[in-house]
Symmetry: C2
């Protein structure tokens, strides 16, 4: 292990003080001649500032914590990756933690992340109602993706316009003549997703469609469980529907398999509609209709809001992403 050169070394090499070297390398100060001399010295020595020392001196780490509720959900898995990339592109780096569907773990990871002293936090929470979000949001800029943190008014949020999204989907389905739709809600360990349920009911009523609500097992369940659970619903309360509308694409994939288990052809016997538009949907389909939120839009909005908040020391903003109906697959006929 060769000892790395320090700022001292560079300063000595360039024949200036450490202060001058520091300023020069950051382009903050110094005559052109000095700056150039310092740069050359740094170059010659292969110097790179130590981010640890810098962090201690400035009080900012350049790190952003990303906390996901469950990366078993393909959307979150992709989100985590995209957020990391976007942050890296903007000169910060992400520390990603995954609660894996367990609220207790979410809490523990949050504590670990906090100790890490990130400059900010990006979260896709399992339990948005948890009290701990409040404390965290008071200490760090926090931006929540996909929902609001009702207990943490100082947190920013990037939310989807589910109202508009559901309007599009139900209009689409009703327009094709479907009258009976099963809706698979997303799993929330602690809180039933009341608002989503209400939206579904309202839009279904508006277009004269009857709905059967299906609650999935918790996010920790593996894919086979999910498939069997949905297959059971299809044989039970949801028997005879012509559409399964899933509030996430991971659920929609499972619904496709459940249809196969029941011997229903998609989209001829049964249509399956997703609500996220993952690109793997292309591989999983056909016969999967999905709704797109524009992935980059979400990521850009979240990262943008957080960085503005960090850099200008203001509260993070809230923004809403509008939906586009992207019919990738084919929605089958009503029965």
């Amino acid at each position: 292990m060769v000892k790395r050169p320090t700022l001292q070394d560079v300063a000595a090499e360039a024949g200036v003080s450490p202060a001058t070297a520091s300023y020069a390398l950051r382009g903050q100060r110094g005559s052109d001649a000095t700056v150039e001399r310092v740069r050359q010295a740094a170059e010659r020595l292969g110097y790179d500032a130590d981010p640890i020392a810098r962090a201690l001196a400035t009080g900012s780490t350049g790190t952003v914590g990303v906390l996901c509720g469950s990366t078993r959900d393909l959307w979150q898995q992709r989100l985590a990756v995209d957020l990391s990339r976007a942050l890296m592109a903007r000169g910060r780096h992400a520390v990603v933690a995954d609660a894996d569907g367990d609220p207790g773990r979410e809490r523990a990871l949050l504590a670990k992340l906090r100790e890490q002293r990130p400059d900010g936090l990006l979260v896709a929470p399992l339990d948005p109602d948890a009290a701990h979000w409040h404390d965290v949001a008071e200490r760090f800029p926090v931006v929540c993706v996909g929902e609001q943190l009702p207990r943490a008014p100082s947190a920013g949020a990037v939310v989807f316009d589910n109202d508009a999204g559901m309007a599009l989907v139900f209009d689409h389905l009703a327009g094709l003549g479907h009258r009976r739709v099963a809706v698979v809600l997303t799993a929330r360990p602690s809180t039933p997703d009341r608002p989503a349920e209400d939206l579904v009911r309202r839009h279904a009523a508006r277009v004269g469609v009857s709905v059967v609500l299906v609650h999935p097992p918790p996010a920790t369940a593996d894919v086979a469980d999910l498939r069997d659970h949905l297959a059971a619903a299809l044989a039970g309360p949801a028997a005879g529907v012509s559409v399964v509308f899933c509030l996430s694409d991971s659920l929609a994939f499972a619904a496709l398999r459940a249809a196969a288990v029941r011997g229903l052809a998609v989209p001829d016997d049964l249509s399956v509609v997703g609500f996220e538009d993952l690109d793997v949907a292309d591989l999983v389909g056909p016969g999967l209709t999905t709704m797109s939120w524009g992935e980059e839009t979400v990521v850009d909005a979240a990262v943008g809001q957080l960085l503005v908040s960090i850099e200008d020391d203001v509260a993070p903003a809230r923004s809403t992403i509008a939906p586009r109906l992207v019919v990738r697959g084919t929605t089958g006929p009503a029965r």
Copy 2:
């Protein structure tokens, strides 16, 4: 923003010196009485040691860099997530970077990761032959997943026993009477001793099966491109094969779609075989036969080797993961 308590505060609160407090909190020194008093003080103040300051003082960051070649590959995406989780469980945290299929970016990210002064590096390289791995492996413990770094003898590795894996697959196929197989190669070579191509040829010859090699487009291609590329192959050089054997599951998913494009039923007209056993395969199937490497085995081996290397200051080990043939789907008949 409330100022966090420091070690000084705890020391003052407990009526001891900072040194004593530091030792006491880490359980390194001190009479039981003192230790207890300091603990209580820390508790009362809600003290948590600042990892930045600690890192500066000790020279170790507790961070492990994870560099993926392309998380568009679902296997790598999952790998990144699992590695983060495993590291977190062992008291370290991961900084994940994704080269997204671009070797230039891989180089740049590696430089960024190095500046970060991680305690070690876990890599799934795009270009294992690149010269920069050599420098890196000399400065940090590095464990490479999925292949070896031929230019970096000091790096550890967790490799798959592809030879044994292919033997299993070809035996399986030949046993079912298949005589003509298309093999979709990955961009990465990935063998301890020999390129995948040679292995394929050798095992095919051994069991008397003829193969058509298909090279996929680069990892940056999107899923639709991949599908079309494979569909073209199925109409061209690979027309008439009864099996498409894909060296990664992501490719296998695309192959399933390509079969659909060509109007071939899976597994009746054409069997599709994967080589990773991702759990989403359950959702994407049916008719997808996959080979399992035991995901936890890989992650545990990689993380285990790296941490031993970091903690005991020895060169990381190399290990080989044995395959299991897990027939999830159904392999169809020969034609």
